[in-house]
Symmetry: C2
Subunit: 323 residues, 2 copies
Amino acid sequence: MAVYTEVSDDALRAFLGEYPLGDLIAYRGIAEGVENSNYALKTTAGDFILTLYEKRVDPADLPYFLGLMEHLAARGVTCPRPVAARDGTALRLLAGRHAAITTFLPGVWPRTVRVAHCAAVGTALAALHLAGADYPGARANALGPAGWSPLLTRALADGGAAAEGLAPGLAEELTAALARILAAWPDGLPRGQIHADLFPDNVFFLGGSLSGLIDFYFAATDLYAYDLAVCLNAWCFEPDVSLNVTKARALLGAYAAGRPLSAAELAALPVLAQGAAIRFALTRLYDWAHTPPGALVTRKDPRDYVRRLRFHLAATDAAAYGL
Amino acid sequence: MAVYTEVSDDALRAFLGEYPLGDLIAYRGIAEGVENSNYALKTTAGDFILTLYEKRVDPADLPYFLGLMEHLAARGVTCPRPVAARDGTALRLLAGRHAAITTFLPGVWPRTVRVAHCAAVGTALAALHLAGADYPGARANALGPAGWSPLLTRALADGGAAAEGLAPGLAEELTAALARILAAWPDGLPRGQIHADLFPDNVFFLGGSLSGLIDFYFAATDLYAYDLAVCLNAWCFEPDVSLNVTKARALLGAYAAGRPLSAAELAALPVLAQGAAIRFALTRLYDWAHTPPGALVTRKDPRDYVRRLRFHLAATDAAAYGL
């Protein structure tokens, strides 16, 4: 649902003229991604994605994001690779926005998650973490633990009306859970570059194999095992919000086969999963409270993540996830 | 802004298996078109568009639309051509929706309209009308003159509050204009299959030439010269809603070179242009009145078409358009 910026024909032609990509064949807005304007671009050189960065992305973060994609792609991670213009720069300006062209990745994101998808994501996430280990950039995780208290305050800025409308007592429940999570948040776990938003719609599969990881615009420098906990939330729950232990075991096992988990990481899995669940519950609650009910956009129900949070709060150790 | 229906992987695979299109390579929602769900589909056989028809399209009209595209494409009109499945049918079912695959057209729609675009559209519209002359289907124009009074009633169902909020006196102005237009509406002009919505975002250009006409889902059997009047409104006004006579002359002249306009059609041009202007003013007013102000969708301002309407109401003959 994401075409916010229209580009004039002349501006597009001039912009593409800076790249060694041949002639323009087609240019269509694509409906995926909610932060930026994305276009499917076809030229005589092939298929590409043109992204115009909208106001929710801090321009100061763009070199980190594009540099990370370039770094990972060069190390065999199947992610979009920024295409450099003739002058060697990939981050440019178009229609008053920062803009970049990246390679097009084949594949289809899975609308129905199967166990094999979870295993493939675990393998790919470990490979991403290992490939990013020598990336020289760093970015504080704005939506990591330090950001959750201010986010809760903003999500409850309506006096908690939206939260109460969803579930009586929800504001109080989230406030108590967040205090407990932050008090138990682990120190000293291995950290590096994480994707931080590796949901099914950011992972492409082709002929049964993982063919691409996209949307690195939440990537940050944070705990590796927190990234895994995000995936646990995003991939291993059934539509009725019950944990599928077979999927959890497939995800965690495949990850650990690529990057072994330390005892401290395993012990921290419940609180990391609580943190990941509350992070998405809070951003969804914020969006819920700030989107008019009649709006023609799909609001994601925060309660799906509140239910995950409750599951993780009841977990005492990694055995809850099949380990 | 148009992905309303998600299709499961298995359903998509089974659906594509019915077509002689090879293997799936990619499948991305595209953000253009507001009535249906559209996907850019890439297979080993090439690029295609998959459309799922949503509730604003009457399924009974689909054979007319798809048949017309097939008919026109077979006669050299560069429009999407329905792709038949192995059993010979192009209109099928997917995810509980009627669905069709059509060919992908290269090109980019013009964000800035130039005189050369107007001439090319005039030529293409005449060719479309001529190519459709022997099409055996017919469809009453739901958004033609017979539909405007009920549409006005629904657009003013809020007691005219939305209209008055836009411009004091607007409800009264539209009511009076509509009565005048319907009283003067011409009888006996040449009729046949018309596109009825040939706005710039439905016309692709490539390397300076018109490369495709898309979105036939408002097509109907109605006056040819009314279709031309829609284009006059859509292509020949500047952003300040002044008529560019050079563009109007280019559009009308190129059209007439392909399909000569009769004296009666020329004489009716002002009232046809009034009708086209009020048709878009009314649907935009209806959408304006029925979209919450905070919604994250762009509402098109009906006043752009009210201003066109005023221009056409002041026109006494085709000389107003440079003829």
